[in-house]
Symmetry: C2
Subunit: 278 residues, 2 copies
């Protein structure tokens, strides 16, 4: 199995200087996910936590609703050298499965009229959880402390500068799980897959933090896991905000120290005075 | 059709201050691409240049090899209000088509042994162009000037902070085409699709610049369009470097003013002294 990072030779140019050296790159390899032997997806990912990635992918696509609907996961072995890049998953009889999921459902829609609203409705239909009544309230103090805690936990980032991270925090702002990947969606899938395999779904009264931007699919993934709040270090997209708004989910963007923009669900971000983060 | 940006109300928090305001968000909407009426893909994208996006997607997936293998593209219209989110494409008889492309081919691989090398081999098999013998030579002076030219051309970025950009430059560093999108892959597809529809493929002696990181799929897309060089403002992944290396393509990362890392193809980055960019 490839490591999380790879050393590569390179030529560094700085003005007129040119020198040979080495750099630490984030590893990227394909992972094929199979259900009962049939390939259903290939994702380019950073090796590591592959079982979590597969579980999170299947859960956030609606193929399973709980971790225990995955009865077995194993690397595919055959005549070729074992590459740890193919995972086969066996589903329980009560899992929704591929047909019931949103995944690939586009092949069955025949009418015109695809739009952001239809995408939002699809998430609402598919998610087994509602976050609208979650008791979570977040203070700006707690939110302001999250990015630094995520960065502390990111050992790999400093070496490569090439990894997205997702951090799951409890209502008090304590880090529960952090995962990294070359793909931001994969980092979310790994965190959510970890929780699914630990039997922790739905993730009521938690908040998930993205190290970069927040698009529609990150909000979708959070909602599929019952996470009632999402924060991001950078900008959200229009459809991410619309989905969060309709779901009653606080969506915080440009979270940088004591500054933040609350794009949706601001009633659940308390007005308590900001205290210095512990 | 939604615009490229959307205005949204928000609550700004800065320390103990809390104020209502508006923010400009990058628009994100689904685009469904159909071939002869059958849906083949849905991508979340920033509306605009949709025909280019579809053409670039089909070209970089190997469904077509030239722009003129697309005989018609039109928005799908029906009973629903026209949303401009569904495009149907008609292919010429000599187009490779879905079956011959790499897209979804994972459903037909039955042996174990998926690995980065297999992904690299697949690109080599599918691309109708080779960049190994391209005469392009790039000087550090020309490379150093590219990011500023891309940013100048990005009118939307400053407003939203949420858009990826791709810029196509000629051998002298002049900007030929710039496209933006909420997804970095889409920005590349739009640039390449523009060139395909203009009949400019292969893009010999050009360089394409990514505003962010360079993963395997960006190198793949460049190679499918015959672009012999790729530069990125941030880090490349391990597999991006391997693919560029095997293809004989210069891959430059962390391109920031006169500093840059050459991860592959350094023989084609000249040793001319750095001059002040014009």
């Amino acid at each position: 199995m490839a490591g999380v990072t790879v050393q590569r030779a390179l030529v560094r140019i700085a003005g007129d200087d040119r020198s040979n050296g080495f750099d630490t790159l984030v590893a990227e390899e394909p992972l094929e996910i199979r259900i009962d032997g049939e390939a259903v997806a290939v994702t380019m990912r950073t090796p590591g936590n592959d079982f979590e990635l597969a579980a999170g992918f299947l859960l956030t696509e609606g193929v399973v609703e709980r971790g225990d609907q995955i009865t077995e996961m194993r690397y595919c072995t055959g005549d070729e050298p074992q590459q740890y890049n193919q995972l086969t998953v066996t589903l329980a009889a009560d899992a929704p499965g591929m047909a019931a999921s949103g995944f690939r459902n586009f092949t069955t829609t025949s009418s015109c009229g695809l739009c952001g609203k239809a995408s939002i409705d699809a998430v609402r239909t598919r998610s087994p959880y509602s976050v609208a009544d979650d008791p979570l309230r977040l203070s700006p103090t707690i939110l302001a402390a999250l990015p630094a805690r995520l960065r502390e936990a990111q050992r790999v980032f400093d070496a490569t500068g090439g990894l997205h991270a997702a951090g799951l925090f409890d209502a008090q702002g304590a880090l529960v799980c952090m995962r990294e990947d070359v793909g931001r969606h994969n980092a979310f899938d790994k965190v959510i897959g970890w929780a699914a395999l630990e039997g922790r779904l739905p993730l009521t009264s938690h908040v998930i933090l993205a190290s970069g931007r927040a698009g529609f699919e990150l909000v979708q993934k959070a909602l599929m896991a019952g996470i009632p709040a999402l924060a991001a270090v950078s900008a959200p997209s229009s459809l991410a905000v619309e989905l969060a708004d309709e779901a009653g989910m606080p969506l915080v963007g440009f979270l940088r120290r004591e500054r933040m923009n609350v794009y949706a669900g601001d009633r659940r971000v308390t007005r308590l005075k900001l205290r210095t983060a512990d």
